[in-house]
Symmetry: C2
Subunit: 537 residues, 2 copies
């Protein structure tokens, strides 16, 4: 047999098994059919459903969405908090190739209407408490034809009166139009989700996830050193599903056969502690402020969380003291991580088993994510360890091109520039040190606000801190320190500067210190530096 | 934007990241470069190398293989035990699209020569102790041009004198021809490996693994409920690499950043205990006989294995008493599993965290493997739980077509018939109950030898047991029981039948009992029923 001949004989040697997202819920329904998805609701009310039943309802929703005129490649708009109905919408839509366009209710109506128009959403599914926002949006969105009011446990679902679009109750829609439709049959590169970035640095940009990119993100993330979910786990998802696939848990939960718990909007410490203890939560995912509220609640009540083993921490990095407090008070290992919408979102994560876990470090990339540090011109740093550089990413679940753009979002070598600055230590641990666009150029040299913020943010009197540049006649730009003190705490300007004096070069010391009672935050909960720059200008 | 327009805009939304196997060793070299691959050798000698160095040597091997005339799509024959050099051959070959054709040294020379000719192997890499076999093979394999003698720690590598093919020492080849070559650049559906089944039921059939099928097998297998390897694990691989990708550990080890330990040919209890304790092994993979030998050694010496946490058990199922003994004596959780060459090989596995683990059960399929029970005509059983059926499989790493065959190996619905019989309980646990071809038809009704074997095999006096059919004038076929007693033990025919009488129907009782001093085994270590049938005929 010649080489060519043998190659031909090998074509199609293994099965053509499309990596589509319906596989996850099919698997869960068949092998973990009684494992539950639990939704917390108004007044502590809860809904619960097994994966087998959730799959059947999702399949009926597929038929209902078709009856509303949606077909493969169309978008379903989702303006909703985490819930069973929201998850059914994902699988019901994605199972027949409809693209889930998740919308952040905290965006401005103008931004929301803009991206609803850009995605040509004709059907919008909405959480019942968002009716006022919906009523603002409908007149601004001429493409909208149908609005579906999602049920939430304990919430009364009344239909809004809309000028043009027709309104449906979710359960009525399932009941009246819910004909079961077979799933799959499209290519794995078909689009599955659309998520716009928060737009703090300009107009929101859309990231289109494909079935393949989300499937691969899920199994890469399921590695034992990353989320490591098992069929014995119960995961509390305090990450909104409109944030970059909700960190993938609505996919990885059924894929691993893990129980899922959605707290809904009720993320205060008491509600979370109640859910964790009564549902037996073992793993919880969300941003630091949520866990801080939980720790405060436990301090007040003396409660414990015996089932909880791990906290997966996303969003901005936290001071070491806060991480230590969370680990101690919650009795759980904290896994820090770094990600972004364009990465689906996982970039790096600290293994739960890591012997050293530092709050300033975000762990290592899992298989399937590759990193490169470059200089400010995009040239690879000759030494990738121990030197700060601009972080670039490649991977199976990394953006190639923004929604509606002609130009790729990657450089000529295929690397996506995250805009983040990072240092990687000898053991491969990544520390995000700042945003490239936040760097301050003083006298021709760079000052990294991130380093100053880390030092000041670790002071016990400081709640939130930011350093931004202000134009300066002689030096070009000079740093200004903006501080929000902890309630009841005070720290003098001199003490703030003293904390910095021995740790940064003298020319890095801020020219001014501005006190704010409440730091301006962007929709994602990150500090809004655009507004701060305008404020100190 | 119209629907069509938005679909077009989404093409290429996420990066085209080919799922090729060089990703694993690239990842390990970059993020776990100092984590070691350790090879046990002759007289306890060991070789050790970090992933970064192993990658570099593999890349040099790529250049050397090219210099011997191998190109993408060609096969590299590998007649070798597990070792660092063997692993370097995998990555050096696969990294440039050369297909690794792994050969089982325990096959007959005639079978080996047959498949070497069918795969048109021009280069063969060989373990140094296999020179006598090699000298038999070379005259039978006219395609062979080069033979590479792999190094093994502590073994003297002398070059054989071959009639036609030229012989190389591995290290000399690396040194003289080892020009570093860039990897990748081919399609993920390109072939990566070729493995022939043992051929106990006819001529050996070849399974061609692709880069995609092996990549997906690896990350599906890395789920926490399956192999669950972490970067803190040290995995002892007592599975030969010529058995269905060595259960994937040479891939999953570097993918997870886990340390790997190859025992080489020295799989006696003393050698294994020494390796486990000195290298800090946490997970070990292999067949029951290996772990039984280890338990015997521990009993004799009183040693313990404090680092060992899990045993991944493959091959035939074991009696409960043996599994209990292993768990107790080795101080490790046993994960039973089921797989086959055509499945890459993982079919089902019991989670390490499962609350109930029975020796007769093989666990559940991980995400990416789908199962279906049918009747003997291939029609799906209406009830998939609690009823014995013929086990069919679909999945990303399941065969579509055997090497060199024109016809697919799957039915018209795309299911691969494993030939195994199985029952799935209400919780989704799969028990393999026998082989369809081993069923005995007596008076028009089926007798399952597997059920009789499970009962007799659990008796403490019995070492190995098999039930085969013998032609019968009146009934068509009748069962014959073949027993190998444990050394020094005896059990009467009456006691054997008594054990069965209350557990199986009276017409299932064997017509005859045959005693053997040594059960005939096939090359894979399974009982050779073809020979037994001929014996009792």
């Amino acid at each position: 047999m010649t080489t060519t001949g043998s190659t031909v004989a090998m074509a199609g040697a293994m099965q053509a098994y499309a990596l589509t997202l319906d596989r996850f819920i099919d698997h869960a329904a068949k092998w973990h059919g009684a494992v539950e998805v639990v939704t917390g609701g108004v007044g502590g009310a809860r809904a619960r459903i097994g994966y087998a039943a959730l799959r059947e309802r999702s399949q009926r929703l597929s038929g209902a969405l078709r009856s509303l005129g949606l077909a493969q490649g169309d978008h379903l708009g989702l303006l909703a908090w985490n819930s069973q109905a929201h998850m059914e919408c994902w699988y019901g839509a994605m199972g027949i190739g409809i693209v889930c366009h998740t919308l952040n209710p905290r965006m401005s109506p103008a931004h929301l209407a803009g991206i609803i128009r850009r995605a040509a959403n004709r059907v919008l599914a909405v959480s019942p408490d968002l009716v006022p926002l919906l009523e603002t949006l409908v007149p601004m969105c001429p493409t909208l034809e149908h609005v579906v009011m999602l049920d939430e446990p304990g919430a009364e679902v009344s239909l809004p009166t809309l000028s043009r679009a027709s309104a449906w109750r979710y359960e009525d829609l399932l009941c009246e139009r819910g004909e079961i439709v077979a799933w799959g049959g499209f290519e794995e590169n078909a689009p599955a989700g659309l998520c716009f970035t928060s737009g703090t640095t300009g107009a929101p940009k859309g990231v289109t996830y494909t079935h393949r990119s989300n499937y691969l993100h899920t199994i890469h993330q399921l590695q034992a050193d990353a989320s490591g979910l098992t069929s014995r786990d119960c995961a509390l998802i305090a990450v909104p599903m409109f944030h970059a696939n909700g960190w993938g848990f609505p996919f990885s939960g059924p894929a691993a056969g893990a129980k899922l718990v959605f707290p809904g909007r009720h993320q205060d410490g008491a509600s979370l502690a109640n859910l964790i203890n009564s549902e037996g939560v073992t793993v919880a995912a969300g941003v630091a402020t949520v866990w801080l509220g939980l720790a405060d609640h436990l301090d007040r009540t003396g409660e414990d969380l015996p089932s909880l083993r791990r906290i997966m921490l996303g969003g901005a990095s936290v001071p070491q003291a806060l991480m230590d407090r969370l680990e101690q008070r919650l009795g759980a290992t904290v896994q820090t991580s770094w990600g972004m919408t364009e990465l689906s979102p996982l970039g790096t994560v600290t293994p739960a088993t890591a012997s050293v876990r530092r709050a300033s470090q975000s762990g290592r990339p899992p298989l399937g994510v590759d990193l490169l540090l470059t200089d400010s011109n995009g040239a690879p740093l000759p030494e990738q360890r121990g030197h700060e550089g601009r972080l670039h990413v490649k991977g199976a679940s990394v953006i190639q091109r923004y929604f509606g753009e002609d130009e790729p979002a990657v450089d000529s070598s295929g690397w996506f520039d995250t805009g983040d600055l990072a240092v990687i230590d000898e053991r491969g641990n990544v520390s995000i040190t700042g945003r490239a666009k936040d760097l301050i150029k003083s006298g021709g040299e760079w000052i990294n606000p991130g380093e100053i913020e880390a030092i000041v943010g670790a002071l016990p009197e400081v709640a939130l801190v930011a350093v931004v540049g202000r134009a300066h006649e002689k030096w070009g730009e000079r740093p200004v320190l903006v501080v929000e003190s902890r309630q009841g705490a005070h720290i003098s300007d001199e003490a703030l500067l003293d904390a910095l004096r021995t740790r940064v070069a003298s020319w890095w010391l801020p020219d001014a210190i501005v006190r704010v009672s409440s730091m301006p935050l962007a929709m994602t909960g990150k500090i809004d530096k655009q507004r701060l720059r305008a404020m100190v200008a």
